[in-house]
Assembly symmetry: C2
Homo-oligomer: 634 residues x 2
């Protein structure tokens, strides 16, 4: 295996001041995070901690894993404090943290459902009841809060709980695994800020114990007095009443897995953790498995928007090339999980193709999960709609809203990476960053760009002293032609085998690099085995996938819309629409239903009529009321 | 309303000796009917009658409505005795009838489930437990047996039971309705052979009471001790626990119904019965409702194969233009029910467009339900398959196999019709018929044709004395051009407003009429709102809809097959394949998957490659093992 050569620049080292993400982070800070706190308060999610901590009386409210939503909100709010300092918010956050801390039991245990509802049944139904999953989100929140504020009030809570879990589970101790993964990446993060190797070892145990016989999940189900009861979670079971291994990626040891299966969010979190463990341990079997799983998802099971998991039945994966549009589940959380995994694959391999997938999911399948005003959410992200979808202000199972909030608040960490050899610029986002190259030289990077609406990027490289290193500029997979200049002089636009324009030279204060990525409208075709898209294509420009919505076009007309052949597609930027978007317009043809009268079948080819149509970025759909929508056209 | 001007020539007046249906009736007689008797015996269906009749000991076996399968088998075997006399079979049939008769209770009641399992709970769960539905199939069997053999042994049983039901239900008596329709058309048939007007009146009550408040079904569900129990049939209920009216067409009185809804077989049987009642009573509200329902199904909810009811969820109807191909339910019984309804609509209106639908269902969506060897069945008839479908020798719920058997055994009745004004030739099937025209003149008709493979038909008209009448020859809706000759002389090929070439003259012994219907291969397009077929067409030649199957073409190639543009389509008759079929061949193009390597999405239009493809009649698919299949191509 290749060593982990590359390290992400953390969100604390990056500022964003562009025209695309900076306004979104502002909305996230000013609208989404307050909205989500209000929802957590309104639904009893915060009170559950106060009740479990004896600060108020009352019963547990909501679903048994609701703690995790609060933790994700804490994580999002913490990142935001770093980019948008706000003393009032910091105090609000401390109040919530005080309630979380109060609910921690003397031995370190922390889960409001079990403390309030089934206190004698801890750790007896890990397969279904999400105790370890919730713990993982607590750990991630604590790490983010510590990184953003330097305070240890939540980190200490997390470490006490992690120590308890570590004292109970692992080799030579109790056998146990989370039904829903998540704690594994959290433990690696916790180890990262605390330096505690036991946390990494526990994460490794969780990753590598999974899928071995005897199944810890099946054993749990033998208990007739199992917490949560046996009847409510039948979708976790096979027909003969056993735990459904594929659903939770527990069908095989990670090293032997070759296909992305089961619940998509779980899968993404497991593969992300496995990448962390492979990076730590150098386990080549895990690394090889991850490469095979990556090929499986990107070559056969990925929506063009970066969505994964087509089926609502298991909230997850089905078969190769089975990517229906109208019924696409493509959970917001799953696209976010794909971003986590893709980022870690890049860090392992240093190759831009992983960032291509990250970028696609970020600008499309994940971003579509939140409305432009920051308070409307999609759980599912279909690629076509009959107009029966609308955005929700919250969900009973509210995993997605705080997940997209924490993603938006922390996207700084995906833009750059560093190593002894040089710097990587992975995403083109206006702002600044503080990196460190070999010999501990500090380098300030500045980016100016109108990306994703234009392919021009101006970079300033400002080392504290002249220093030699490779500046690795990602050439996006969607880009077929580009130009580069260094300090105004043309630089040969060559892409290396990792997909980067790598410029190695001695860099001086205020050196500049200019990039110009050609960004024409592309017609993207799916593999012929993707049944629903045969004869169809999607429009993509740069990283942005487009769609057609009723509100811009005659009712439902795009269901039969053809833009094939030599149809010219014009782009115009409209700064008043949908927060500022580049639109794509063209003269298309549609089947003329008028001549059909009352016929259902006719032996003559349907006539076509011409009309001008307008496409908008997919992420922006359903922001002007419910609407019919389609990504794929003829 | 228009009087019922037209009467079908019964199966007893028609013989079939052509190359298409005669071999199928032979297979039906020699393979299907013995096979189905064996299945009824093996699964305890016959024994249930013996047990209920005290002829043997033991418990009821199988599903509570299994009696109906035996009745449909008796009906099929009876028709067959008339076309294929066989003393051994007649004795076998009498044995089964003896067991049925033995199970009749002293008061006339007959249902082996209730007699053996819940004897004290008769008539308490008509919505779900199918007591009246089973009675209906008994009556239809009895009528067929009486017509075919002249024996009253089953007819008397049926009448005793019908008298009991009539004594219990109806105006001024108990309120009750069948959850699954069927008894209504059966009672009209029983009235037809017995002349008993009470049976028609009871049928009218069942047809017209349905859909009125208070709901008899909802009232039944108030009984906590309801037979069958409340939990097993939840799909009959709405979310708030009420009987699902639409599912059983009990949401509105028949006169107010405007859309075909719910379980498709039930719907077809109800509309058929309503047509019978409209013909008897002259109720114009019912007639108008039927016209509206007919428009709804034929203009918005009908597969090109004559299948109806796209959804497996309710075994029935969904929304306008919702006609998915892979998941099409299109139950064999529903196409058969559509044939029943279409036939009655023709008898009401005398218009050929009803026979067009009858013919389409007969040659395609119904016929596909049985294998060429007569012992393999489809319950569902999808229009595309990934190769995961196979034919079954029987089903737990075995409604379809004996239904297709009784259809095939009785298709003689759909070919001709008569009235005082003349004769109708609706289907082109070689054979003879004995009709009666005005002044009680007997006319022998003879047809010679290779239909459906060729459009040439030679008719001989042989009245016992010279007589004037209109010979109405159906010009099929699929036919755009035809020629006609009378006694060798060209006759003007004009179609009247009812869709017939009507030749009124004095007919003499051995007069001849020759018809030549042009039968080119047609590309049939679906309404633009049928989403799955946008950009696609189906091949049809004459009444036969075609499909592509793997066994004749490279694996799955037709999933992306294009035959559009000027592609020439050649037809050849192959008498060794699939029992003798006309094949359609052409040079198509398919997307070339080879160039895609491991890409899921590419920004270049997929290359096409040419290849010769072969289509077979849809009805003949899945007769050479499991196979991928598609009706609609690009």
């Amino acid at each position: 295996m290749r060593d982990r050569i590359v390290k992400a620049l953390p969100f604390t080292a990056v500022t964003i001041n562009d025209g695309f993400w900076a306004p979104r982070q502002k909305t996230n800070s000013e609208a989404t995070i307050p909205h989500e706190l209000a929802q957590c308060q309104k639904t009893g999610r915060i009170d559950n901690f106060a009740k479990a901590g004896g600060l108020m009386s009352g019963e547990f409210e909501g679903i048994f894993f609701n703690d995790s939503d609060v933790y994700k909100w804490v994580e999002a709010a913490s990142y935001t404090l770093s980019t948008h300092p706000n003393p009032a918010w910091e105090a609000e956050l401390d109040e919530v943290i005080a309630k979380i801390a109060a609910s921690q039991q003397p031995d370190g245990y922390l889960n409001t459902y079990f403390t309030l509802v089934e206190p004698t049944k801890r750790w007896q139904n890990l397969g279904i009841m999400h105790e370890l999953y919730c713990a993982g989100h607590l750990f991630e929140a604590a790490v983010a809060h510590y990184q953003a504020t330097g305070k240890r009030n939540l980190l200490d809570v997390a470490c006490r709980f992690a120590d308890l879990i570590d004292s109970l589970f692992g080799p030579g101790k109790r056998d146990g695994l989370p039904g829903h993964e998540g704690i594994e990446i959290a433990l690696v993060k916790l180890a990262g800020v605390t330096g505690e190797p036991r946390y990494t070892a526990l994460a490794e145990y969780f990753v590598t114990r999974r899928g071995h016989s005897p199944s810890v999940f099946e054993k749990e189900l033998e208990n007739p007095d199992i917490p949560g009861g046996l009847d409510s979670y039948r979708h976790h079971f096979t027909r003969d009443g056993k735990f459904e291994g594929h659903y939770a990626q527990a069908h095989l040891p990670i090293q032997q897995q070759t296909e992305c299966v089961g619940h998509a969010v779980r899968a993404m979190y497991l593969y992300s953790a496995a990448a962390d463990i492979a990076a730590e341990t150098g386990d080549t079997d895990i690394l090889n498995a991850l490469d095979i799983l990556w090929k499986n998802v990107t070559e056969k099971r990925l929506y063009v928007t970066g969505g994964v998991g087509p089926s609502g039945h298991n909230e997850g994966f089905t078969n190769d090339y089975e990517l229906p549009n109208f019924s696409a589940y493509a959970e917001t959380c799953a696209s976010i999980g794909l971003i986590f995994w893709a980022h870690r694959m890049f860090l392992l391999h240093g190759a831009s193709r992983f960032v291509d997938v990250l970028e696609t999911a970020l600008y499309n399948g994940a971003l579509s999960g939140i409305s432009l005003d920051g308070t409307g959410f999609f759980y599912q992200n279909p690629l076509a709609s009959y107009g029966d979808r609308f955005r929700h202000e919250w969900f009973g199972c509210a995993c997605c809203p705080p997940n997209i909030a924490r993603l938006l608040a922390s996207i700084g960490q995906y833009i750059y990476a560093e190593s002894d050899e040089g710097l990587w610029v992975n995403l083109y986002v206006g702002g600044t960053a503080e990196a460190t190259v070999a010999q501990n030289v500090s380098v300030k990077l500045t980016q100016e760009t109108d990306y994703p609406w234009a392919g021009d990027v101006a970079l300033t490289i400002d080392p504290e002293v002249p220093v030699s290193f490779a500046l690795n500029l990602r050439v996006p997979g969607w880009c077929e032609q580009f130009e580069a200049r260094v300090n105004g002089r043309v630089y040969k636009p060559e892409t290396n085998s990792d997909g980067y324009l790598s410029i190695t030279r001695e860099w001086h204060a205020d050196d500049s690099v200019e990039l110009r990525f050609d960004m024409p409208v592309a017609r993207v075709y799916a593999h012929p085995l993707v049944r629903e898209n045969v004869g169809r294509f999607a429009l993509r420009r740069g990283p942005i996938v487009y769609c057609f919505e009723d509100v811009d076009n005659p009712d439902g007309v795009f269901q039969t819309l053809s833009l094939s052949g030599e149809v010219a597609l014009e782009t115009t930027f409209n700064d008043e629409l949908l927060g500022g978007v580049t639109l794509i317009r063209g003269m298309g043809t549609v089947l003329d239903a008028s001549e059909w009268d009352n016929n259902l079948y006719l032996p003559t080819k349907p006539k076509m009529r011409q009309l001008e149509v307008t496409a908008i970025p997919y992420y922006a759909w359903c922001n002007r009321g419910t609407s019919q929508m389609s990504v794929w056209v003829l």
